[in-house]
Symmetry: C2
Subunit: 250 residues, 2 copies
Protein backbone atom coordinates (compact mmCIF):
# COMPACT_ATOMS: atom_id res chain seq x y z
CA UNK A 1 0.00 0.00 0.00
CA UNK A 2 1.01 3.59 -0.51
CA UNK A 3 1.57 4.57 3.07
CA UNK A 4 2.40 8.19 2.51
CA UNK A 5 -0.98 8.93 0.97
CA UNK A 6 -2.64 11.17 3.49
CA UNK A 7 -6.22 11.14 2.38
CA UNK A 8 -8.45 8.14 1.88
CA UNK A 9 -12.01 7.31 0.95
CA UNK A 10 -14.55 4.52 0.90
CA UNK A 11 -17.10 3.98 -1.85
CA UNK A 12 -20.56 2.70 -0.96
CA UNK A 13 -22.57 1.42 -3.92
CA UNK A 14 -26.22 1.14 -2.92
CA UNK A 15 -28.54 -0.95 -5.04
CA UNK A 16 -30.10 -4.37 -5.49
CA UNK A 17 -29.48 -4.13 -9.24
CA UNK A 18 -25.72 -4.44 -8.72
CA UNK A 19 -26.05 -7.32 -6.23
CA UNK A 20 -28.35 -9.23 -8.56
CA UNK A 21 -25.77 -9.04 -11.33
CA UNK A 22 -28.26 -7.30 -13.61
CA UNK A 23 -26.26 -4.07 -13.72
CA UNK A 24 -22.50 -3.90 -14.07
CA UNK A 25 -21.16 -1.28 -11.65
CA UNK A 26 -18.87 1.24 -13.33
CA UNK A 27 -19.11 4.01 -10.73
CA UNK A 28 -16.39 2.46 -8.58
CA UNK A 29 -13.87 2.75 -11.37
CA UNK A 30 -15.03 6.31 -12.23
CA UNK A 31 -14.81 7.49 -8.63
CA UNK A 32 -11.52 5.74 -7.88
CA UNK A 33 -9.79 7.10 -10.96
CA UNK A 34 -11.04 10.60 -10.22
CA UNK A 35 -10.03 10.37 -6.55
CA UNK A 36 -6.53 9.23 -7.53
CA UNK A 37 -6.05 12.43 -9.51
CA UNK A 38 -6.94 14.34 -6.33
CA UNK A 39 -4.48 12.31 -4.26
CA UNK A 40 -7.17 10.40 -2.40
CA UNK A 41 -6.73 6.66 -2.06
CA UNK A 42 -9.76 4.38 -2.09
CA UNK A 43 -9.38 1.96 0.82
CA UNK A 44 -12.56 -0.03 0.45
CA UNK A 45 -15.69 -0.48 -1.65
CA UNK A 46 -18.93 -1.99 -0.41
CA UNK A 47 -21.96 -2.90 -2.46
CA UNK A 48 -25.06 -3.17 -0.32
CA UNK A 49 -28.80 -3.67 -0.91
CA UNK A 50 -31.56 -1.05 -0.56
CA UNK A 51 -32.16 -1.89 3.10
CA UNK A 52 -32.39 1.01 5.53
CA UNK A 53 -30.45 -0.51 8.43
CA UNK A 54 -27.69 -1.74 6.19
CA UNK A 55 -27.28 1.73 4.68
CA UNK A 56 -27.30 3.43 8.10
CA UNK A 57 -24.75 1.02 9.59
CA UNK A 58 -22.46 1.11 6.57
CA UNK A 59 -22.48 4.92 6.37
CA UNK A 60 -21.78 5.26 10.08
CA UNK A 61 -18.96 2.74 10.03
CA UNK A 62 -17.25 4.09 6.91
CA UNK A 63 -17.53 7.80 7.72
CA UNK A 64 -15.61 7.20 10.95
CA UNK A 65 -12.96 5.07 9.30
CA UNK A 66 -12.24 7.14 6.18
CA UNK A 67 -11.67 10.80 5.37
CA UNK A 68 -14.42 10.67 2.74
CA UNK A 69 -17.33 8.43 1.86
CA UNK A 70 -18.94 8.50 -1.57
CA UNK A 71 -22.31 6.82 -1.97
CA UNK A 72 -23.87 6.04 -5.31
CA UNK A 73 -27.49 5.15 -5.97
CA UNK A 74 -30.91 5.38 -4.37
CA UNK A 75 -31.65 9.11 -4.61
CA UNK A 76 -34.37 9.04 -7.26
CA UNK A 77 -38.13 9.44 -6.82
CA UNK A 78 -39.30 5.81 -6.45
CA UNK A 79 -40.02 3.58 -3.44
CA UNK A 80 -36.62 1.86 -3.65
CA UNK A 81 -34.77 5.19 -3.37
CA UNK A 82 -34.09 5.32 0.35
CA UNK A 83 -30.51 6.58 0.51
CA UNK A 84 -31.23 10.20 1.53
CA UNK A 85 -33.60 9.23 4.32
CA UNK A 86 -31.18 6.55 5.55
CA UNK A 87 -28.28 9.01 5.57
CA UNK A 88 -30.42 11.41 7.61
CA UNK A 89 -30.98 8.64 10.13
CA UNK A 90 -27.26 7.78 10.12
CA UNK A 91 -26.51 11.39 11.11
CA UNK A 92 -29.51 11.51 13.43
CA UNK A 93 -30.86 14.71 11.85
CA UNK A 94 -34.31 15.43 10.40
CA UNK A 95 -35.07 14.37 6.83
CA UNK A 96 -36.65 17.44 5.27
CA UNK A 97 -37.21 19.56 2.19
CA UNK A 98 -34.05 21.37 1.12
CA UNK A 99 -35.13 24.96 0.33
CA UNK A 100 -32.41 25.76 -2.18
CA UNK A 101 -32.84 22.39 -3.88
CA UNK A 102 -36.58 23.01 -4.09
CA UNK A 103 -36.03 26.29 -5.89
CA UNK A 104 -33.61 24.70 -8.34
CA UNK A 105 -36.01 21.93 -9.33
CA UNK A 106 -38.99 24.30 -9.37
CA UNK A 107 -37.15 26.36 -11.98
CA UNK A 108 -35.91 23.26 -13.83
CA UNK A 109 -39.33 21.70 -14.50
CA UNK A 110 -42.17 23.16 -16.52
CA UNK A 111 -45.11 24.52 -14.52
CA UNK A 112 -47.19 21.61 -13.20
CA UNK A 113 -44.43 19.05 -13.77
CA UNK A 114 -42.80 19.39 -10.36
CA UNK A 115 -44.92 16.61 -8.87
CA UNK A 116 -44.68 14.72 -5.57
CA UNK A 117 -42.24 12.12 -6.90
CA UNK A 118 -39.86 14.81 -8.09
CA UNK A 119 -40.23 16.76 -4.87
CA UNK A 120 -39.04 13.67 -3.01
CA UNK A 121 -35.67 14.15 -4.67
CA UNK A 122 -34.94 17.33 -2.72
CA UNK A 123 -35.71 15.79 0.67
CA UNK A 124 -32.36 15.58 2.41
CA UNK A 125 -30.77 15.49 5.84
CA UNK A 126 -30.94 18.85 7.61
CA UNK A 127 -27.66 20.70 7.06
CA UNK A 128 -26.92 18.99 3.74
CA UNK A 129 -25.19 21.09 1.09
CA UNK A 130 -26.11 20.61 -2.54
CA UNK A 131 -24.05 18.94 -5.26
CA UNK A 132 -25.30 20.44 -8.50
CA UNK A 133 -26.44 18.18 -11.33
CA UNK A 134 -25.74 19.67 -14.76
CA UNK A 135 -27.30 16.67 -16.53
CA UNK A 136 -30.78 16.09 -15.15
CA UNK A 137 -31.52 18.74 -12.54
CA UNK A 138 -31.96 16.78 -9.30
CA UNK A 139 -28.99 17.59 -7.06
CA UNK A 140 -27.00 15.28 -4.84
CA UNK A 141 -25.70 16.48 -1.49
CA UNK A 142 -22.98 16.20 1.07
CA UNK A 143 -23.12 16.26 4.82
CA UNK A 144 -19.86 16.38 6.75
CA UNK A 145 -17.58 13.90 4.92
CA UNK A 146 -20.32 11.89 3.18
CA UNK A 147 -21.02 12.67 -0.48
CA UNK A 148 -24.30 11.32 -1.81
CA UNK A 149 -24.40 10.80 -5.58
CA UNK A 150 -26.82 9.17 -8.01
CA UNK A 151 -26.41 5.70 -9.52
CA UNK A 152 -26.74 6.57 -13.21
CA UNK A 153 -23.09 6.63 -14.37
CA UNK A 154 -23.31 9.55 -16.82
CA UNK A 155 -25.08 11.74 -14.26
CA UNK A 156 -22.66 10.82 -11.47
CA UNK A 157 -19.73 11.66 -13.72
CA UNK A 158 -21.14 15.05 -14.61
CA UNK A 159 -21.46 15.99 -10.92
CA UNK A 160 -17.87 15.36 -9.87
CA UNK A 161 -16.57 18.67 -11.21
CA UNK A 162 -18.79 20.48 -8.69
CA UNK A 163 -17.22 18.85 -5.63
CA UNK A 164 -13.57 18.81 -6.63
CA UNK A 165 -12.79 21.82 -4.45
CA UNK A 166 -14.43 20.20 -1.39
CA UNK A 167 -11.89 17.38 -1.32
CA UNK A 168 -8.57 17.79 0.42
CA UNK A 169 -6.20 15.26 -1.05
CA UNK A 170 -2.50 14.68 -1.23
CA UNK A 171 -0.24 14.56 -4.24
CA UNK A 172 -1.97 12.84 -7.15
CA UNK A 173 -1.32 9.12 -7.15
CA UNK A 174 0.38 8.28 -10.41
CA UNK A 175 1.18 4.97 -11.97
CA UNK A 176 3.38 3.40 -14.56
CA UNK A 177 2.39 0.20 -16.31
CA UNK A 178 4.93 -2.09 -17.93
CA UNK A 179 3.31 -4.85 -19.95
CA UNK A 180 5.46 -7.87 -20.65
CA UNK A 181 5.25 -10.97 -22.80
CA UNK A 182 6.00 -13.39 -19.99
CA UNK A 183 4.45 -15.48 -17.21
CA UNK A 184 4.04 -14.22 -13.66
CA UNK A 185 6.02 -17.15 -12.30
CA UNK A 186 8.99 -16.19 -14.45
CA UNK A 187 9.33 -12.77 -12.83
CA UNK A 188 7.82 -13.39 -9.38
CA UNK A 189 11.11 -13.61 -7.52
CA UNK A 190 12.72 -10.55 -9.15
CA UNK A 191 9.56 -8.53 -8.60
CA UNK A 192 9.46 -9.47 -4.91
CA UNK A 193 13.01 -8.18 -4.55
CA UNK A 194 12.04 -4.80 -6.05
CA UNK A 195 8.92 -4.55 -3.87
CA UNK A 196 10.97 -5.33 -0.76
CA UNK A 197 13.36 -2.55 -1.64
CA UNK A 198 10.59 0.01 -2.25
CA UNK A 199 8.12 -0.38 0.61
CA UNK A 200 6.28 2.87 -0.13
CA UNK A 201 5.59 2.00 -3.73
CA UNK A 202 2.70 -0.30 -4.59
CA UNK A 203 3.74 -2.88 -7.17
CA UNK A 204 1.00 -5.03 -8.66
CA UNK A 205 1.32 -7.89 -11.10
CA UNK A 206 -1.65 -8.70 -13.34
CA UNK A 207 -1.78 -11.47 -15.91
CA UNK A 208 -3.65 -10.68 -19.12
CA UNK A 209 -4.79 -12.50 -22.25
CA UNK A 210 -4.63 -10.46 -25.42
CA UNK A 211 -5.06 -11.69 -28.96
CA UNK A 212 -4.65 -15.24 -27.70
CA UNK A 213 -1.34 -14.51 -25.99
CA UNK A 214 -0.53 -14.44 -22.29
CA UNK A 215 1.23 -11.50 -20.71
CA UNK A 216 1.75 -9.70 -17.41
CA UNK A 217 1.19 -6.06 -16.60
CA UNK A 218 3.33 -4.68 -13.83
CA UNK A 219 1.73 -1.61 -12.28
CA UNK A 220 3.86 0.69 -10.15
CA UNK A 221 1.92 3.24 -8.09
CA UNK A 222 3.01 6.03 -5.80
CA UNK A 223 2.50 9.72 -5.19
CA UNK A 224 6.24 10.21 -5.64
CA UNK A 225 7.37 10.49 -9.27
CA UNK A 226 11.00 9.94 -8.42
CA UNK A 227 10.29 6.66 -6.64
CA UNK A 228 8.23 5.42 -9.57
CA UNK A 229 11.06 6.20 -11.93
CA UNK A 230 13.64 4.42 -9.76
CA UNK A 231 11.41 1.43 -9.22
CA UNK A 232 10.53 1.20 -12.88
CA UNK A 233 14.19 1.18 -13.92
CA UNK A 234 14.86 -1.65 -11.45
CA UNK A 235 12.06 -3.59 -13.10
CA UNK A 236 13.52 -2.87 -16.53
CA UNK A 237 16.87 -4.19 -15.31
CA UNK A 238 15.56 -7.68 -14.71
CA UNK A 239 13.33 -7.50 -17.78
CA UNK A 240 16.38 -6.84 -19.96
CA UNK A 241 18.48 -9.39 -18.12
CA UNK A 242 15.84 -12.07 -18.69
CA UNK A 243 15.40 -10.91 -22.32
CA UNK A 244 11.64 -10.45 -21.83
CA UNK A 245 9.71 -8.68 -24.61
CA UNK A 246 8.11 -5.39 -23.51
CA UNK A 247 4.65 -5.14 -25.08
CA UNK A 248 3.78 -1.72 -23.78
CA UNK A 249 4.98 0.91 -21.34
CA UNK A 250 2.75 3.77 -20.31
Amino acid sequence: MIENSKSNAAILIIGNEILSGRTQDTNTSTLATWLNTLGVKVGEVRVIPDIENTIINSVNLLRKEYNYVFTSGGIGPTHDDITSESVSKAFNVPYEKHEEGYKILEAYYKPGEFNDGRQKMIWMPRGAKLILNPTSGAPGFYIENVFVLPGVPSILKSMLGGIKNKIVGGNPIISQTISLRTFESHIAESLTAVQNKYKNVEIGSYPFFQAGKLGVSIVIRSDDKKLIKECSSEVMNFVNEKKIEVVNRE
Copy 2:
Protein backbone atom coordinates in the same frame (compact mmCIF):
# COMPACT_ATOMS: atom_id res chain seq x y z
CA MET B 1 -35.65 -7.93 -0.46
CA ILE B 2 -36.69 -11.44 -1.36
CA GLU B 3 -37.26 -12.79 2.10
CA ASN B 4 -38.12 -16.34 1.16
CA SER B 5 -34.73 -16.93 -0.43
CA LYS B 6 -33.04 -19.40 1.86
CA SER B 7 -29.46 -19.28 0.77
CA ASN B 8 -27.21 -16.25 0.58
CA ALA B 9 -23.65 -15.32 -0.24
CA ALA B 10 -21.10 -12.55 0.01
CA ILE B 11 -18.54 -11.72 -2.65
CA LEU B 12 -15.08 -10.54 -1.62
CA ILE B 13 -13.07 -8.98 -4.41
CA ILE B 14 -9.41 -8.79 -3.37
CA GLY B 15 -7.08 -6.51 -5.26
CA ASN B 16 -5.53 -3.07 -5.34
CA GLU B 17 -6.14 -2.91 -9.11
CA ILE B 18 -9.90 -2.66 -8.58
CA LEU B 19 -9.58 -0.04 -5.80
CA SER B 20 -7.28 2.10 -7.94
CA GLY B 21 -9.84 2.18 -10.73
CA ARG B 22 -7.33 0.68 -13.15
CA THR B 23 -9.32 -2.50 -13.59
CA GLN B 24 -13.07 -2.65 -13.96
CA ASP B 25 -14.43 -5.49 -11.83
CA THR B 26 -16.71 -7.83 -13.78
CA ASN B 27 -16.49 -10.85 -11.48
CA THR B 28 -19.23 -9.52 -9.20
CA SER B 29 -21.72 -9.53 -12.02
CA THR B 30 -20.56 -12.98 -13.23
CA LEU B 31 -20.79 -14.52 -9.77
CA ALA B 32 -24.09 -12.84 -8.86
CA THR B 33 -25.81 -13.88 -12.08
CA TRP B 34 -24.56 -17.44 -11.69
CA LEU B 35 -25.60 -17.58 -8.02
CA ASN B 36 -29.09 -16.37 -8.90
CA THR B 37 -29.57 -19.34 -11.20
CA LEU B 38 -28.68 -21.56 -8.23
CA GLY B 39 -31.16 -19.75 -5.98
CA VAL B 40 -28.47 -18.04 -3.92
CA LYS B 41 -28.92 -14.36 -3.20
CA VAL B 42 -25.88 -12.09 -2.97
CA GLY B 43 -26.27 -9.99 0.17
CA GLU B 44 -23.09 -7.96 0.01
CA VAL B 45 -19.95 -7.31 -2.01
CA ARG B 46 -16.72 -5.93 -0.61
CA VAL B 47 -13.68 -4.82 -2.52
CA ILE B 48 -10.58 -4.78 -0.35
CA PRO B 49 -6.84 -4.22 -0.86
CA ASP B 50 -4.09 -6.86 -0.78
CA ILE B 51 -3.51 -6.41 2.96
CA GLU B 52 -3.31 -9.53 5.08
CA ASN B 53 -5.24 -8.31 8.11
CA THR B 54 -8.00 -6.86 5.99
CA ILE B 55 -8.40 -10.16 4.13
CA ILE B 56 -8.40 -12.19 7.36
CA ASN B 57 -10.95 -9.96 9.08
CA SER B 58 -13.23 -9.74 6.04
CA VAL B 59 -13.21 -13.50 5.47
CA ASN B 60 -13.93 -14.22 9.11
CA LEU B 61 -16.75 -11.71 9.30
CA LEU B 62 -18.43 -12.74 6.05
CA ARG B 63 -18.15 -16.51 6.48
CA LYS B 64 -20.09 -16.24 9.73
CA GLU B 65 -22.74 -13.96 8.30
CA TYR B 66 -23.45 -15.69 4.98
CA ASN B 67 -24.01 -19.26 3.80
CA TYR B 68 -21.25 -18.85 1.22
CA VAL B 69 -18.34 -16.53 0.59
CA PHE B 70 -16.70 -16.24 -2.83
CA THR B 71 -13.34 -14.54 -3.03
CA SER B 72 -11.75 -13.43 -6.27
CA GLY B 73 -8.13 -12.47 -6.82
CA GLY B 74 -4.74 -12.85 -5.21
CA ILE B 75 -3.99 -16.54 -5.82
CA GLY B 76 -1.26 -16.20 -8.45
CA PRO B 77 2.50 -16.63 -8.03
CA THR B 78 3.66 -13.06 -7.29
CA HIS B 79 4.37 -11.16 -4.07
CA ASP B 80 0.97 -9.44 -4.10
CA ASP B 81 -0.87 -12.78 -4.18
CA ILE B 82 -1.57 -13.29 -0.49
CA THR B 83 -5.15 -14.56 -0.48
CA SER B 84 -4.43 -18.26 0.17
CA GLU B 85 -2.08 -17.58 3.05
CA SER B 86 -4.50 -15.04 4.52
CA VAL B 87 -7.41 -17.49 4.27
CA SER B 88 -5.27 -20.10 6.08
CA LYS B 89 -4.73 -17.59 8.87
CA ALA B 90 -8.44 -16.74 8.93
CA PHE B 91 -9.21 -20.43 9.54
CA ASN B 92 -6.23 -20.78 11.84
CA VAL B 93 -4.88 -23.81 9.97
CA PRO B 94 -1.41 -24.37 8.47
CA TYR B 95 -0.63 -22.96 5.02
CA GLU B 96 0.97 -25.85 3.18
CA LYS B 97 1.55 -27.63 -0.11
CA HIS B 98 -1.61 -29.33 -1.37
CA GLU B 99 -0.49 -32.80 -2.51
CA GLU B 100 -3.22 -33.35 -5.10
CA GLY B 101 -2.78 -29.82 -6.44
CA TYR B 102 0.95 -30.40 -6.70
CA LYS B 103 0.42 -33.50 -8.85
CA ILE B 104 -1.99 -31.65 -11.12
CA LEU B 105 0.43 -28.81 -11.80
CA GLU B 106 3.41 -31.15 -12.07
CA ALA B 107 1.58 -32.95 -14.90
CA TYR B 108 0.35 -29.65 -16.41
CA TYR B 109 3.75 -28.03 -16.90
CA LYS B 110 6.60 -29.28 -19.05
CA PRO B 111 9.54 -30.81 -17.17
CA GLY B 112 11.61 -28.06 -15.55
CA GLU B 113 8.84 -25.46 -15.87
CA PHE B 114 7.21 -26.17 -12.51
CA ASN B 115 9.31 -23.54 -10.74
CA ASP B 116 9.05 -22.02 -7.25
CA GLY B 117 6.61 -19.30 -8.33
CA ARG B 118 4.24 -21.85 -9.80
CA GLN B 119 4.60 -24.12 -6.81
CA LYS B 120 3.40 -21.24 -4.65
CA MET B 121 0.03 -21.55 -6.37
CA ILE B 122 -0.70 -24.91 -4.76
CA TRP B 123 0.06 -23.75 -1.23
CA MET B 124 -3.30 -23.70 0.50
CA PRO B 125 -4.92 -23.96 3.91
CA ARG B 126 -4.74 -27.50 5.32
CA GLY B 127 -8.02 -29.27 4.57
CA ALA B 128 -8.74 -27.22 1.44
CA LYS B 129 -10.47 -29.04 -1.43
CA LEU B 130 -9.52 -28.19 -4.98
CA ILE B 131 -11.55 -26.25 -7.52
CA LEU B 132 -10.29 -27.42 -10.89
CA ASN B 133 -9.16 -24.88 -13.47
CA PRO B 134 -9.82 -26.01 -17.03
CA THR B 135 -8.23 -22.84 -18.48
CA SER B 136 -4.78 -22.41 -17.02
CA GLY B 137 -4.06 -25.32 -14.70
CA ALA B 138 -3.63 -23.70 -11.28
CA PRO B 139 -6.63 -24.71 -9.15
CA GLY B 140 -8.64 -22.65 -6.71
CA PHE B 141 -9.93 -24.20 -3.52
CA TYR B 142 -12.67 -24.18 -0.96
CA ILE B 143 -12.55 -24.62 2.77
CA GLU B 144 -15.82 -24.94 4.65
CA ASN B 145 -18.09 -22.29 3.07
CA VAL B 146 -15.35 -20.10 1.57
CA PHE B 147 -14.63 -20.51 -2.16
CA VAL B 148 -11.34 -19.04 -3.32
CA LEU B 149 -11.22 -18.14 -7.01
CA PRO B 150 -8.79 -16.26 -9.25
CA GLY B 151 -9.20 -12.66 -10.40
CA VAL B 152 -8.84 -13.13 -14.17
CA PRO B 153 -12.48 -13.08 -15.34
CA SER B 154 -12.25 -15.73 -18.08
CA ILE B 155 -10.49 -18.17 -15.74
CA LEU B 156 -12.92 -17.54 -12.89
CA LYS B 157 -15.85 -18.16 -15.23
CA SER B 158 -14.42 -21.43 -16.45
CA MET B 159 -14.12 -22.75 -12.88
CA LEU B 160 -17.72 -22.22 -11.79
CA GLY B 161 -19.01 -25.39 -13.47
CA GLY B 162 -16.80 -27.43 -11.14
CA ILE B 163 -18.38 -26.12 -7.92
CA LYS B 164 -22.04 -25.98 -8.95
CA ASN B 165 -22.83 -29.20 -7.08
CA LYS B 166 -21.21 -27.90 -3.87
CA ILE B 167 -23.75 -25.10 -3.53
CA VAL B 168 -27.09 -25.69 -1.86
CA GLY B 169 -29.45 -23.01 -3.08
CA GLY B 170 -33.16 -22.40 -3.21
CA ASN B 171 -35.40 -21.97 -6.18
CA PRO B 172 -33.66 -19.97 -8.90
CA ILE B 173 -34.32 -16.26 -8.54
CA ILE B 174 -36.02 -15.10 -11.69
CA SER B 175 -36.82 -11.65 -12.91
CA GLN B 176 -39.01 -9.81 -15.34
CA THR B 177 -38.01 -6.46 -16.75
CA ILE B 178 -40.55 -4.01 -18.15
CA SER B 179 -38.93 -1.05 -19.88
CA LEU B 180 -41.09 2.01 -20.28
CA ARG B 181 -40.89 5.32 -22.09
CA THR B 182 -41.63 7.45 -19.05
CA PHE B 183 -40.09 9.24 -16.08
CA GLU B 184 -39.67 7.63 -12.69
CA SER B 185 -41.65 10.41 -11.03
CA HIS B 186 -44.64 9.69 -13.28
CA ILE B 187 -44.97 6.11 -12.01
CA ALA B 188 -43.46 6.37 -8.52
CA GLU B 189 -46.76 6.39 -6.65
CA SER B 190 -48.36 3.52 -8.57
CA LEU B 191 -45.21 1.44 -8.23
CA THR B 192 -45.09 2.00 -4.47
CA ALA B 193 -48.66 0.69 -4.24
CA VAL B 194 -47.69 -2.50 -6.08
CA GLN B 195 -44.57 -2.98 -3.93
CA ASN B 196 -46.62 -2.53 -0.75
CA LYS B 197 -49.02 -5.22 -1.91
CA TYR B 198 -46.24 -7.70 -2.77
CA LYS B 199 -43.79 -7.59 0.11
CA ASN B 200 -41.93 -10.76 -0.95
CA VAL B 201 -41.23 -9.51 -4.44
CA GLU B 202 -38.35 -7.14 -5.05
CA ILE B 203 -39.35 -4.32 -7.36
CA GLY B 204 -36.62 -2.04 -8.63
CA SER B 205 -36.94 1.06 -10.77
CA TYR B 206 -33.97 2.10 -12.90
CA PRO B 207 -33.84 5.12 -15.17
CA PHE B 208 -31.96 4.66 -18.45
CA PHE B 209 -30.84 6.81 -21.36
CA GLN B 210 -30.98 5.09 -24.72
CA ALA B 211 -30.55 6.68 -28.14
CA GLY B 212 -30.95 10.07 -26.50
CA LYS B 213 -34.26 9.16 -24.89
CA LEU B 214 -35.08 8.72 -21.22
CA GLY B 215 -36.84 5.64 -19.96
CA VAL B 216 -37.38 3.53 -16.86
CA SER B 217 -36.80 -0.20 -16.43
CA ILE B 218 -38.95 -1.85 -13.81
CA VAL B 219 -37.36 -5.06 -12.58
CA ILE B 220 -39.49 -7.56 -10.68
CA ARG B 221 -37.56 -10.32 -8.89
CA SER B 222 -38.65 -13.32 -6.89
CA ASP B 223 -38.15 -17.04 -6.65
CA ASP B 224 -41.90 -17.49 -7.15
CA LYS B 225 -43.01 -17.41 -10.80
CA LYS B 226 -46.65 -16.94 -9.91
CA LEU B 227 -45.94 -13.85 -7.80
CA ILE B 228 -43.87 -12.32 -10.58
CA LYS B 229 -46.72 -12.87 -13.03
CA GLU B 230 -49.29 -11.29 -10.69
CA CYS B 231 -47.05 -8.38 -9.85
CA SER B 232 -46.17 -7.78 -13.46
CA SER B 233 -49.83 -7.67 -14.50
CA GLU B 234 -50.50 -5.10 -11.76
CA VAL B 235 -47.70 -2.99 -13.20
CA MET B 236 -49.16 -3.38 -16.69
CA ASN B 237 -52.52 -2.20 -15.35
CA PHE B 238 -51.21 1.25 -14.41
CA VAL B 239 -48.97 1.37 -17.48
CA ASN B 240 -52.02 0.92 -19.71
CA GLU B 241 -54.12 3.28 -17.62
CA LYS B 242 -51.49 6.00 -17.92
CA LYS B 243 -51.04 5.20 -21.65
CA ILE B 244 -47.27 4.71 -21.21
CA GLU B 245 -45.36 3.22 -24.14
CA VAL B 246 -43.74 -0.16 -23.38
CA VAL B 247 -40.28 -0.24 -24.95
CA ASN B 248 -39.40 -3.78 -24.01
CA ARG B 249 -40.59 -6.64 -21.84
CA GLU B 250 -38.37 -9.61 -21.12
